[in-house]
């Protein structure tokens, strides 16, 4: 109706719209209720005749609102339907529905089924029989049926997981059309060109004669996956689409064999109909991936299955040659690494490893390549044997060492010395390779004539040598032999891995051969070779039956009865006989995919054909009646509110009454709105529990505003008082002698207080106190890591005896520092910058003078020590340990009275103690500045020039 997809189930009700002008007139002369005003002096004017009795007109907006309300009710009564069923077009012949049921139709399958159902229902209403033909039915005859049967048949249909050819169906249609010339043909096309779409369309038009062929196409552009490639670093997946125009994006999901999600990645089309998506995952995870699908694209084409052929294996490479780093092109491991790199993870033993084989076996490898390793002996041999017995694959390359002597880990007995072809002492020319045998795993590889072998090791002729041979020279001498050992395989290339014996390592064939060999690693247990030669051949020749297959929607399930076993090494796309899915036993699955690696998707073009194109209706019919009734009701509420407002209801006079009424109206409105829309639970409740916040105290604010020293409160009153007065004196002296004017020192508790504000923390050790908590120790460690310096003062210089038992204070300190990352310490060297930061000092004295002071060890000196009078590290030492009880020596009251006597005593000692303290503070604040100061003369000279 009016170009809109709008229809009415009872259109005659719409005639009521003609009454709207009458309503308009009636409404216009019926004004809203007047507002009522109490007015005490009314008596004065009660007898006045109103001059103008005509009431005010209804406001225009209220009129519009009420008319819209009435119109809505009338429209709602007429039963409006959005997207109504298509009307019959006056056709008389039967209806033939041709349905593309390939995987490309799967994403919109439900809509297609609904649309076909509507067509059939519409035809049934007109008394026309209908026929239904699915393309995958092939040349089966088309039968007319009534709507019930057709609907049932339609319901039973499922999209096929492959792309069926349409041509056989055309024959059936042609046959049907010869008997039913009037038939209305509707083709529900999937939109891709594969399966002879164009030819089918042409044939259809021809067969239809003068009847129009209707084509219904989906709005959805089919997406598909065109195979995956386990490249180094990432698993690359080819994403295809039929429509080459415009941008597009989506998501890929990867699952393992059990259906667990392994990873997700996004893809985007810029232009063209092919792009690549990469799963950048660790190799272990990538090897787990068994199924990749496009999210929300439910079709078999949007799924690609991966079997062991896609797995990247870890290959260890050990070379017997002495490592020559300078000439990599001469090393066999170079060729091996390059050849294995594209499809496997190559591990090499670190140079200098004592037992490279054992070391590399630790690495969870599945293939071990030994290049020219003659004899593996000792524990490495046992390990290697166990590795092979447990299913590992050992690949050996010959060389001078192997030619000289070999161990038992070779598939065939070797003749000592080897054979040189085409050498100066030989009649023979270099030999090319013979084509690969059918039984060989290399079968199918293209043997290049350019490959030639000049030298090889020879196998002793013995029984069964032919069965062990995977590749041979043109003269029949085995070139690659293999034997089973335990669950594993031993493979020997009778060549070197470098180019000295042949040019095989330079050819692409080498890569392919290695790829096949590495692929054997996973299935070596399942595919017996070597000794069980006949069995192996039988297994190889045997076809593999389907285990689980995809249906058209891309869901793995039980294989259909029509599925046939695939021949081994089947590498083509899926077809009706071989539906996509996993084939074979569960430990050696073979994947068959809907699209082969080279497939492309193309949209079918119907240009130049006489066809009636229709779009698949995107949505179902929607009954608009409830929405309209709701809207009318809401407008009614609005009208009521407006009437109250016009009657002065929102004024002071009736505020309470109206407020109550309005609240009720709103409540009803919200209840309706709530019923109509899906109110989701508020997500606010999911607020994460807040981390415990650090709250800055007033003290912290002050500490942050001015630099000040700090001491740790030990709990021993004498010591704490000494620390406080000592640091106070030191701060005073700093302010007097230097440009630094620290504020009064703070006493801190590392367990509670924030330490970051203090550059220097003085910590007198009192042995009897309990150790700080783990949390406090962590904070101390963090403080030291962040650049703070802690001066630990054990105050036990008098008690310490060289070589004697550690004092309780030392024990306490050691226990504390056990949880802290303490750098290497050394007694303060004479040339350490801490002795030169302000005063030139020799040692740090306190109440006692004999104690040692320890500081972070500096890097050993380089160059001429005499040229550098001061040395410093890159940063300030986070820890300084002394035993001289520094604070006690500093502690002098303001009136000049010392708190503690000094040993041995004297004003000079107290002065030196203060100087030492000043040096420590300067050291923590300036770092290695003084050490760099010695260069100032050179720098100035350089600047002068």
């Amino acid at each position: 109706m009016f170009g809109l997809p709008l229809g009415f189930s009872a259109p005659f009700v719409l005639t009521a719209l003609a009454l709207l002008p009458v309503l308009w007139y009636l409404l216009r002369i019926t004004p809203p209720r007047p507002r009522q005003v109490a007015f005490p002096p009314l008596k004065l004017i009660l007898d006045l005749k109103p001059k103008d009795e005509t009431p005010a007109r209804t406001p225009w907006w209220l009129l519009v609102l009420r008319l819209a309300l009435a119109a809505l009710v009338i429209l709602a009564m007429a039963g409006p339907i959005w997207n109504p069923l298509p009307a019959s077009e006056g056709q008389r012949g039967p209806l033939l529905v041709v349905l593309d049921d390939s995987w490309a139709a799967a994403p919109q399958w439900d809509q297609r089924v609904i649309a076909i159902n509507e067509r059939i229902a519409s035809a049934t209403r007109d008394g026309r029989p209908s026929a239904l033909l699915a393309i995958s039915d092939g040349a089966r005859d088309v039968v007319l049926s009534d709507s019930t049967r057709a609907t049932e048949r339609l319901r039973a249909m499922k999209p096929a997981p492959y792309l069926p050819d349409r041509m056989p169906a055309l024959q059936a249609i042609t046959k049907f059309l010869t008997t039913n010339k009037q038939a209305e043909i509707v083709w529900f096309a999937d939109g891709i060109a594969g399966g002879n779409a164009r030819a089918f369309a042409e044939g259809l038009v021809k067969a239809a004669g003068d009847q129009t062929v209707h084509i219904v196409r989906g709005s959805h552009t089919p997406l598909a996956l065109g195979g995956a490639d386990n490249a180094p670093g990432a698993l690359e997946v080819r994403v295809l689409r039929a429509d080459a125009s415009g941008a597009g994006s989506g998501q890929l999901r990867a699952y393992d064999l059990k259906g667990l999600a392994v990873g997700e990645t996004n893809f985007g089309f810029a232009l063209g109909n092919e792009t690549k998506a990469r799963f950048e995952l660790p190799i272990e995870l990538r090897n787990e991936i068994a199924r990749i699908e496009i999210a929300n694209e439910h079709s078999a084409g949007a799924v690609t299955l991966l079997d062991s052929r896609w797995k990247r294996r870890r290959v260890g490479v050990v070379s017997g040659a002495s490592a020559d780093v300078a000439q990599p092109l001469l090393a066999p491991s170079y060729y091996l690494t390059r050849a294995l790199g594209p499809f496997a993870e190559v591990r090499e033993a670190r140079p200098g490893t004592r037992d490279p084989i054992a070391a590399i076996l630790e690495d969870q490898i599945s293939v071990l390549v030994l290049a020219d390793v003659g004899v593996v002996a000792g524990p490495a041999h046992d390990q290697l044997a166990r590795f092979i017995d447990n299913g590992g694959v050992l690949v050996r390359f010959a060389g001078t060492r192997l030619a000289g002597s070999s161990d038992d880990l070779v598939p065939v007995k070797l003749r000592r010395g080897g054979r040189v072809l085409g050498g100066s002492l030989s009649w023979d020319k270099p030999k090319p390779l013979a084509p690969f045998d059918r039984d060989s795993p290399f079968f199918g590889l293209n043997v290049s004539n350019e490959v030639s072998v000049t030298r090889q090791v020879l196998a002793e002729p013995e029984v069964g040598l032919a069965g062990k041979t995977w590749a041979a020279l043109a003269d029949g001498t085995p070139l690659v032999t293999a034997a089973r050992r335990g669950k594993g395989l031993v493979i020997l290339f009778h060549l070197t891995a470098d180019t000295t014996w042949s040019n095989l390592p330079l050819s692409g064939l080498f890569v392919d051969m290695l790829r096949r060999v590495v692929a054997l690693a996973g299935e070596s247990g399942a595919a017996p070779t070597g000794g069980d030669q006949t069995g192996a051949n039988a297994a190889r020749a045997e076809s593999v039956s389907p285990t689980r297959t995809l249906d058209g929607f891309g869901v793995l399930g039980v294989p259909p009865v029509t599925a046939k076993p695939i021949p081994a090494n089947y590498d083509g796309p899926a077809c009706a006989d071989y539906p996509p899915g996993f084939y074979g036993p569960s430990d050696a699955l073979t994947a068959v995919n809907t699209l082969s690696r080279s497939d492309k998707l193309e949209a079918v073009s119907f240009d130049g054909l006489r066809l009636d194109m229709q779009a698949l209706r995107p949505s179902e019919p929607v009954d608009l009646r409830p929405a309209m009734v709701t809207a009318a009701f809401l407008m009614l509420l609005l009208d009521g509110l407006a009437s109250i407002w016009l009657a002065g209801g929102f004024g002071r006079n009736g505020r309470r009454r109206v407020a109550r009424g309005a609240a009720a109206a709103l409540a009803v409105g919200f209840a309706i709105a709530g019923g109509l829309s899906d109110i989701r639970p508020a997500s606010a409740q999911a607020s994460a529990p807040a981390a415990p916040e650090y709250r800055a105290t007033q003290r912290d604010m002050e500490a942050a505003l001015r630099t000040r020293l700090a001491y740790v409160i030990t709990g021993d009153r004498t010591v704490d008082e000494g620390s406080r007065v000592g640091l106070s004196t030191l701060s005073r002296e700093l302010g007097r002698r230097t440009s630094l004017a620290p504020a009064e020192p703070n006493g801190v508790d590392p367990a509670r207080d924030e330490l970051v504000f203090y550059p220097l923390l003085y910590w007198p050790i009192v042995a009897g106190r309990p150790q700080p908590s783990v949390d406090a120790v962590n904070r101390i460690a963090a403080f030291m890591k962040q650049g703070g310096t802690i001066v630990f003062d054990t105050r036990d210089a008098m008690m310490t005896r060289p070589g004697g038992a550690p004092t309780p204070e030392s024990v306490w300190l050691r226990q504390l520092l056990a949880g802290v990352d303490v750098p290497e310490l050394e007694p303060v060297p004479r040339d350490h910058v801490v002795t030169k930061t302000y005063y030139l000092l020799e040692n740090f004295v306190g109440r006692t003078t004999i104690g040692q002071t320890w500081i972070e060890a500096l890097a050993p000196e380089q160059g001429d020590p005499s040229s550098r009078p001061a040395r410093a590290g890159d940063s300030v030492s986070p820890i300084i340990i002394t035993s001289n009880d520094l604070a006690a020596a500093w502690a002098v009251e303001r009136n000049g009275d010392a708190l503690f006597p000094l040993v041995p005593g004297g004003a000079r000692q107290r002065e030196l103690a203060i100087r030492g303290g000043i040096n420590l503070v300067m050291y923590t604040l300036t770092g290695n500045y003084k050490a760099d100061q010695v260069h100032v003369r050179d720098l100035l000279e350089r600047l002068a020039h």
Partner: protein
Amino acid sequence: MADARLLDEQELRADGRHELGALDLARRLPSLIVAAKDVAATVMHGVHGRRRAGVGETFWQFRPFTMGEATSRIDWRRSARDDRVYVREREWEAAHTIWIWIDRSPSMAYVSSLAMQPKIDRAITLGLACADLLVRGGERVGVPGLTRALATRNIIERLAEAMTEETRRPGFVPAELPPPHALAPRTQAVILSDLLTDPAQVTQTIHSMSSRGALGHVVMIADPVEETFPFSGHTEFLDVDSSATLRVGEAETFRADYINRLAAHRDAVRTAAMSRGWSFTIHRTDRPASEALLALRMQIEAGHSLGSYREAV
């Protein structure tokens, strides 16, 4: 357009017209009383003597003793200072009686958004404040038909109590005008009302009250809405003390007529007051109460002097 409303029952009950009057008195009257006291305090009571010798407490003058007077009147302390004999005279301080009428009819229970207070609140505030002011000035104050003339210090509480008491009486209907009894000469009457009754009735009341020479002051309290008539559009007017309604299509067309009628009404009342020498004031509730109180006081003072003048004549 201004909003106007009648006080609802709860608010009216708060004035103590019903059973819970006593409780409501505690809730509402205190605020009115405080307001009344506040207003009264702003108007300082001036010298209120008779400016002549007479019975009183304040010293007026010494005058020479004239023969024939009682000797007990001689002020011996003053007479001892010279040879003559003096008599101490005191200023004559006679207390007046003032009757205050506060209209509490339904039409007073009206307030618009333009007003500061309902008319009835304004009337009670003004009345009580006036009473307090007068009692502090040495006068006696009463409510006609309710109390006798009182001169107690807690006059506000007494009058409020009496009014509350009255409202609790069964079958009480608040009267619009005071009972038309003749007041004694030299008393004054203060009528606080919106006077929205028949002017003839007002005239009759004033005439009968003043028949014995009493003076009076009529304060007409009006809501601003009643003066300006700020209504427009389709409006239905409701009377407050009858069920009369008036539905008007275009209220604004009524404004001029109404204002004419109001002016005529006021003129009638004014004439009635002036004819007996009574003062007439119009007080709007959007003006502060103190303004009306000050005017009222000045007029009461003038009434005093007028009374004295009459007496002298």
